[in-house]
Symmetry: C2
Subunit: 139 residues, 2 copies
DNA sequence: GAATTATGTCAATAAGGTTGACGTATTTCC
DNA sequence: GGAAATACGTCAACCTTATTGACATAATTC
Protein backbone atom coordinates (compact mmCIF):
# COMPACT_ATOMS: atom_id res chain seq x y z
CA UNK A 1 0.00 0.00 0.00
CA UNK A 2 1.39 3.37 -0.96
CA UNK A 3 1.16 6.24 1.42
CA UNK A 4 0.69 9.96 0.84
CA UNK A 5 3.85 12.07 0.71
CA UNK A 6 4.68 13.81 3.97
CA UNK A 7 3.93 17.32 2.76
CA UNK A 8 4.07 18.79 6.23
CA UNK A 9 7.62 17.59 6.78
CA UNK A 10 8.75 18.56 3.27
CA UNK A 11 7.49 22.08 3.73
CA UNK A 12 8.74 22.39 7.29
CA UNK A 13 12.25 21.56 6.13
CA UNK A 14 12.00 24.05 3.26
CA UNK A 15 10.83 26.95 5.41
CA UNK A 16 13.09 26.02 8.31
CA UNK A 17 16.14 26.04 6.09
CA UNK A 18 15.18 29.35 4.51
CA UNK A 19 14.83 30.84 7.95
CA UNK A 20 18.16 29.32 8.98
CA UNK A 21 20.18 30.77 6.10
CA UNK A 22 18.23 34.03 6.15
CA UNK A 23 19.71 34.73 9.55
CA UNK A 24 23.23 34.73 8.12
CA UNK A 25 22.22 36.54 4.94
CA UNK A 26 21.37 39.67 6.88
CA UNK A 27 24.84 39.82 8.40
CA UNK A 28 26.61 38.98 5.14
CA UNK A 29 24.83 41.79 3.33
CA UNK A 30 26.66 44.33 5.50
CA UNK A 31 29.93 43.04 4.11
CA UNK A 32 28.77 42.76 0.52
CA UNK A 33 29.04 38.99 0.70
CA UNK A 34 26.63 36.24 -0.28
CA UNK A 35 25.99 32.67 0.75
CA UNK A 36 28.89 31.42 -1.32
CA UNK A 37 31.26 33.52 0.77
CA UNK A 38 29.62 32.24 3.93
CA UNK A 39 30.19 28.62 2.99
CA UNK A 40 33.86 29.19 2.21
CA UNK A 41 34.36 31.21 5.37
CA UNK A 42 32.63 28.57 7.46
CA UNK A 43 34.56 25.56 6.24
CA UNK A 44 37.89 27.33 6.45
CA UNK A 45 36.91 28.36 9.98
CA UNK A 46 36.13 24.78 10.82
CA UNK A 47 39.07 23.21 8.95
CA UNK A 48 41.97 25.63 9.21
CA UNK A 49 44.79 24.84 6.79
CA UNK A 50 42.64 22.84 4.42
CA UNK A 51 43.62 22.59 0.76
CA UNK A 52 41.72 23.99 -2.20
CA UNK A 53 41.00 20.44 -3.34
CA UNK A 54 39.49 19.50 0.01
CA UNK A 55 37.34 22.60 0.07
CA UNK A 56 36.08 21.85 -3.43
CA UNK A 57 35.22 18.34 -2.25
CA UNK A 58 33.22 19.67 0.67
CA UNK A 59 31.41 22.34 -1.29
CA UNK A 60 30.90 20.20 -4.37
CA UNK A 61 31.52 23.05 -6.78
CA UNK A 62 34.13 23.65 -9.49
CA UNK A 63 37.39 25.44 -8.89
CA UNK A 64 36.36 28.16 -11.34
CA UNK A 65 33.32 28.85 -9.23
CA UNK A 66 35.30 28.90 -6.01
CA UNK A 67 37.99 31.12 -7.54
CA UNK A 68 35.94 34.31 -7.72
CA UNK A 69 34.54 34.02 -4.20
CA UNK A 70 37.87 33.05 -2.70
CA UNK A 71 39.62 35.87 -4.51
CA UNK A 72 37.20 38.36 -3.00
CA UNK A 73 37.68 36.93 0.48
CA UNK A 74 41.46 37.13 0.11
CA UNK A 75 41.43 40.66 -1.34
CA UNK A 76 39.21 41.92 1.46
CA UNK A 77 41.48 40.23 3.97
CA UNK A 78 39.14 37.66 5.44
CA UNK A 79 41.10 34.65 4.22
CA UNK A 80 44.78 34.07 3.58
CA UNK A 81 46.74 31.38 1.79
CA UNK A 82 49.83 29.66 3.00
CA UNK A 83 52.19 27.48 0.99
CA UNK A 84 52.07 23.82 2.01
CA UNK A 85 55.09 22.69 4.01
CA UNK A 86 55.46 19.19 2.64
CA UNK A 87 53.82 19.94 -0.71
CA UNK A 88 54.63 23.44 -1.90
CA UNK A 89 52.01 23.30 -4.66
CA UNK A 90 49.29 23.50 -2.05
CA UNK A 91 47.75 26.78 -0.98
CA UNK A 92 46.51 26.04 2.53
CA UNK A 93 43.59 28.19 3.59
CA UNK A 94 43.37 30.08 6.86
CA UNK A 95 41.17 32.82 8.27
CA UNK A 96 42.61 36.22 9.07
CA UNK A 97 41.57 37.76 12.41
CA UNK A 98 38.79 39.62 10.57
CA UNK A 99 37.70 36.38 8.93
CA UNK A 100 37.66 34.64 12.25
CA UNK A 101 35.48 37.32 13.79
CA UNK A 102 33.01 37.23 10.91
CA UNK A 103 32.85 33.42 10.80
CA UNK A 104 32.21 33.33 14.52
CA UNK A 105 29.57 36.02 14.28
CA UNK A 106 27.71 34.02 11.62
CA UNK A 107 27.94 30.78 13.56
CA UNK A 108 26.74 32.42 16.74
CA UNK A 109 23.76 33.97 14.95
CA UNK A 110 22.76 30.63 13.49
CA UNK A 111 23.34 28.84 16.77
CA UNK A 112 21.09 31.24 18.60
CA UNK A 113 18.33 30.45 16.17
CA UNK A 114 18.95 26.70 16.42
CA UNK A 115 19.07 26.81 20.19
CA UNK A 116 15.83 28.74 20.34
CA UNK A 117 14.19 26.01 18.28
CA UNK A 118 15.77 23.25 20.38
CA UNK A 119 14.47 24.98 23.50
CA UNK A 120 10.89 24.39 22.34
CA UNK A 121 11.34 20.62 22.61
CA UNK A 122 12.29 18.34 25.47
CA UNK A 123 15.99 17.88 26.12
CA UNK A 124 15.82 14.24 25.12
CA UNK A 125 14.39 15.33 21.77
CA UNK A 126 17.68 17.01 20.87
CA UNK A 127 19.43 13.77 20.10
CA UNK A 128 16.56 12.70 17.85
CA UNK A 129 16.88 15.91 15.85
CA UNK A 130 20.63 15.48 15.46
CA UNK A 131 20.28 11.84 14.54
CA UNK A 132 17.56 12.57 12.01
CA UNK A 133 19.63 15.23 10.27
CA UNK A 134 22.68 13.02 10.16
CA UNK A 135 20.65 10.20 8.68
CA UNK A 136 19.46 12.55 5.95
CA UNK A 137 23.08 13.13 4.96
CA UNK A 138 24.10 9.50 4.70
CA UNK A 139 21.22 8.29 2.57
CA UNK B 1 28.64 32.81 30.10
CA UNK B 2 28.85 32.45 26.38
CA UNK B 3 28.87 29.05 24.78
CA UNK B 4 30.51 27.75 21.64
CA UNK B 5 28.41 27.72 18.48
CA UNK B 6 26.80 24.38 17.71
CA UNK B 7 28.91 23.58 14.65
CA UNK B 8 27.73 20.02 14.47
CA UNK B 9 24.09 21.04 14.18
CA UNK B 10 24.84 23.87 11.75
CA UNK B 11 26.70 21.53 9.43
CA UNK B 12 24.21 18.71 9.79
CA UNK B 13 21.44 21.02 8.66
CA UNK B 14 23.53 22.24 5.73
CA UNK B 15 24.42 18.78 4.45
CA UNK B 16 20.99 17.35 5.24
CA UNK B 17 19.28 20.05 3.22
CA UNK B 18 21.66 19.61 0.32
CA UNK B 19 20.91 15.92 0.31
CA UNK B 20 17.19 16.63 0.55
CA UNK B 21 17.02 18.94 -2.46
CA UNK B 22 19.54 16.87 -4.41
CA UNK B 23 17.01 14.09 -4.51
CA UNK B 24 14.55 16.23 -6.44
CA UNK B 25 17.25 17.82 -8.60
CA UNK B 26 17.99 14.51 -10.27
CA UNK B 27 14.37 14.10 -11.35
CA UNK B 28 13.99 17.72 -12.41
CA UNK B 29 17.04 17.47 -14.68
CA UNK B 30 15.20 14.97 -16.87
CA UNK B 31 12.61 17.63 -17.60
CA UNK B 32 15.06 20.47 -18.04
CA UNK B 33 13.76 22.12 -14.89
CA UNK B 34 15.54 23.54 -11.87
CA UNK B 35 14.72 24.15 -8.23
CA UNK B 36 12.76 27.26 -9.06
CA UNK B 37 10.37 25.19 -11.15
CA UNK B 38 10.11 22.66 -8.35
CA UNK B 39 9.06 25.26 -5.83
CA UNK B 40 6.35 26.66 -8.10
CA UNK B 41 5.13 23.19 -8.99
CA UNK B 42 5.05 22.16 -5.35
CA UNK B 43 3.09 25.10 -4.00
CA UNK B 44 0.58 25.03 -6.84
CA UNK B 45 0.22 21.30 -6.15
CA UNK B 46 -0.44 22.01 -2.50
CA UNK B 47 -2.59 25.11 -3.01
CA UNK B 48 -4.58 24.59 -6.20
CA UNK B 49 -6.20 27.75 -7.51
CA UNK B 50 -3.86 30.10 -5.66
CA UNK B 51 -3.25 33.57 -7.05
CA UNK B 52 0.03 34.92 -8.41
CA UNK B 53 0.20 37.31 -5.46
CA UNK B 54 -0.19 34.49 -2.94
CA UNK B 55 2.48 32.44 -4.65
CA UNK B 56 4.86 35.41 -4.60
CA UNK B 57 4.16 35.78 -0.89
CA UNK B 58 5.04 32.14 -0.25
CA UNK B 59 8.15 32.10 -2.41
CA UNK B 60 9.32 35.56 -1.38
CA UNK B 61 10.56 36.44 -4.84
CA UNK B 62 9.61 39.18 -7.31
CA UNK B 63 6.99 38.74 -10.01
CA UNK B 64 9.66 39.27 -12.68
CA UNK B 65 11.59 36.35 -11.30
CA UNK B 66 8.52 34.16 -11.10
CA UNK B 67 7.44 35.16 -14.62
CA UNK B 68 10.17 33.31 -16.46
CA UNK B 69 9.80 30.09 -14.54
CA UNK B 70 6.01 30.18 -14.63
CA UNK B 71 6.02 30.90 -18.34
CA UNK B 72 8.11 27.79 -18.96
CA UNK B 73 5.85 25.65 -16.82
CA UNK B 74 2.79 26.91 -18.68
CA UNK B 75 4.36 26.54 -22.13
CA UNK B 76 5.44 22.98 -21.38
CA UNK B 77 1.95 22.25 -20.08
CA UNK B 78 2.67 21.52 -16.45
CA UNK B 79 0.68 24.46 -15.09
CA UNK B 80 -2.37 26.28 -16.36
CA UNK B 81 -4.02 29.55 -15.49
CA UNK B 82 -7.69 30.16 -14.95
CA UNK B 83 -9.45 33.50 -14.74
CA UNK B 84 -10.78 34.26 -11.25
CA UNK B 85 -14.54 33.93 -10.94
CA UNK B 86 -15.21 36.79 -8.57
CA UNK B 87 -12.15 38.83 -9.59
CA UNK B 88 -11.41 38.48 -13.28
CA UNK B 89 -8.00 40.17 -12.91
CA UNK B 90 -6.72 37.11 -11.10
CA UNK B 91 -4.95 34.27 -12.89
CA UNK B 92 -5.57 31.30 -10.61
CA UNK B 93 -2.93 28.62 -10.88
CA UNK B 94 -3.61 24.93 -11.34
CA UNK B 95 -1.58 21.90 -12.27
CA UNK B 96 -2.26 20.07 -15.51
CA UNK B 97 -2.36 16.24 -15.31
CA UNK B 98 1.32 16.18 -16.30
CA UNK B 99 2.09 18.77 -13.62
CA UNK B 100 0.25 16.73 -11.06
CA UNK B 101 2.20 13.61 -11.92
CA UNK B 102 5.54 15.40 -11.73
CA UNK B 103 4.72 17.20 -8.47
CA UNK B 104 3.67 13.91 -6.93
CA UNK B 105 6.78 12.16 -8.17
CA UNK B 106 8.99 14.81 -6.57
CA UNK B 107 7.10 14.72 -3.28
CA UNK B 108 7.25 10.95 -3.15
CA UNK B 109 11.00 10.94 -3.80
CA UNK B 110 11.61 13.44 -1.03
CA UNK B 111 9.25 11.63 1.33
CA UNK B 112 11.08 8.38 0.80
CA UNK B 113 14.29 10.07 1.86
CA UNK B 114 12.65 11.74 4.85
CA UNK B 115 11.00 8.51 5.93
CA UNK B 116 14.27 6.64 5.69
CA UNK B 117 15.83 9.17 8.01
CA UNK B 118 12.86 9.08 10.38
CA UNK B 119 13.14 5.30 10.46
CA UNK B 120 16.56 5.59 12.06
CA UNK B 121 15.09 7.18 15.17
CA UNK B 122 12.44 6.04 17.65
CA UNK B 123 8.85 6.69 16.69
CA UNK B 124 8.45 9.16 19.55
CA UNK B 125 11.37 11.12 18.12
CA UNK B 126 9.32 12.02 15.04
CA UNK B 127 7.26 14.62 16.82
CA UNK B 128 10.42 16.25 18.17
CA UNK B 129 11.82 16.57 14.67
CA UNK B 130 8.61 18.10 13.35
CA UNK B 131 8.33 20.43 16.30
CA UNK B 132 11.95 21.53 16.00
CA UNK B 133 11.60 22.35 12.29
CA UNK B 134 8.39 24.27 12.87
CA UNK B 135 10.02 26.26 15.63
CA UNK B 136 12.82 27.19 13.23
CA UNK B 137 10.25 28.74 10.91
CA UNK B 138 8.49 30.88 13.50
CA UNK B 139 11.54 32.51 15.02
C1' DG C 1 63.19 13.20 -17.60
C1' DA C 2 58.20 12.23 -18.15
C1' DA C 3 53.87 12.05 -16.20
C1' DT C 4 50.87 13.44 -12.71
C1' DT C 5 49.06 16.65 -9.40
C1' DA C 6 47.59 21.24 -7.24
C1' DT C 7 46.31 25.30 -8.41
C1' DG C 8 45.32 29.53 -11.31
C1' DT C 9 42.96 31.71 -15.01
C1' DC C 10 40.51 33.03 -19.40
C1' DA C 11 36.24 32.73 -21.84
C1' DA C 12 31.54 31.62 -22.83
C1' DT C 13 27.21 30.27 -20.96
C1' DA C 14 23.25 29.30 -17.85
C1' DA C 15 19.89 29.58 -13.92
C1' DG C 16 17.82 32.32 -10.85
C1' DG C 17 17.45 36.34 -8.68
C1' DT C 18 17.11 41.83 -8.35
C1' DT C 19 15.35 46.92 -9.35
C1' DG C 20 12.88 50.13 -12.07
C1' DA C 21 9.58 51.44 -15.32
C1' DC C 22 5.51 51.05 -17.81
C1' DG C 23 1.06 48.91 -19.84
C1' DT C 24 -3.60 46.86 -19.36
C1' DA C 25 -7.61 45.15 -17.50
C1' DT C 26 -10.61 45.10 -13.68
C1' DT C 27 -12.40 46.42 -9.31
C1' DT C 28 -13.28 49.64 -5.66
C1' DC C 29 -14.51 53.80 -3.74
C1' DC C 30 -16.17 58.57 -3.43
C1' DG D 1 -19.52 57.73 -13.49
C1' DG D 2 -14.91 58.82 -13.03
C1' DA D 3 -10.60 58.38 -10.28
C1' DA D 4 -7.74 55.51 -7.80
C1' DA D 5 -6.19 51.21 -6.47
C1' DT D 6 -5.26 46.42 -7.53
C1' DA D 7 -3.67 42.09 -10.16
C1' DC D 8 -0.94 40.91 -13.41
C1' DG D 9 2.30 41.08 -17.56
C1' DT D 10 6.52 42.61 -19.62
C1' DC D 11 10.80 45.05 -21.15
C1' DA D 12 15.46 46.06 -19.92
C1' DA D 13 19.64 46.09 -17.38
C1' DC D 14 22.17 43.97 -14.03
C1' DC D 15 24.03 40.72 -10.16
C1' DT D 16 25.42 36.23 -7.99
C1' DT D 17 26.50 31.74 -8.32
C1' DA D 18 27.20 28.17 -10.84
C1' DT D 19 28.72 25.44 -15.20
C1' DT D 20 32.08 23.44 -19.18
C1' DG D 21 36.26 23.62 -21.70
C1' DA D 22 40.85 24.92 -22.48
C1' DC D 23 45.30 26.03 -21.22
C1' DA D 24 49.42 27.58 -18.02
C1' DT D 25 52.62 26.95 -14.19
C1' DA D 26 54.96 25.00 -10.59
C1' DA D 27 56.04 21.10 -7.80
C1' DT D 28 55.96 16.26 -6.94
C1' DT D 29 56.24 11.44 -8.14
C1' DC D 30 57.67 7.54 -10.68
Amino acid sequence: MKQEPDFELIESLFFAYRSFVGEADKILAHYGFGRAHHRVLHFVYRNPGLTIATLLDILQITKQSLARVLKELIETDFIMQQEGEDDRRQRLLHLTPAGYILAEKLSVAQSIKLNAALATIDADGHKYVRCFLKSMIKS
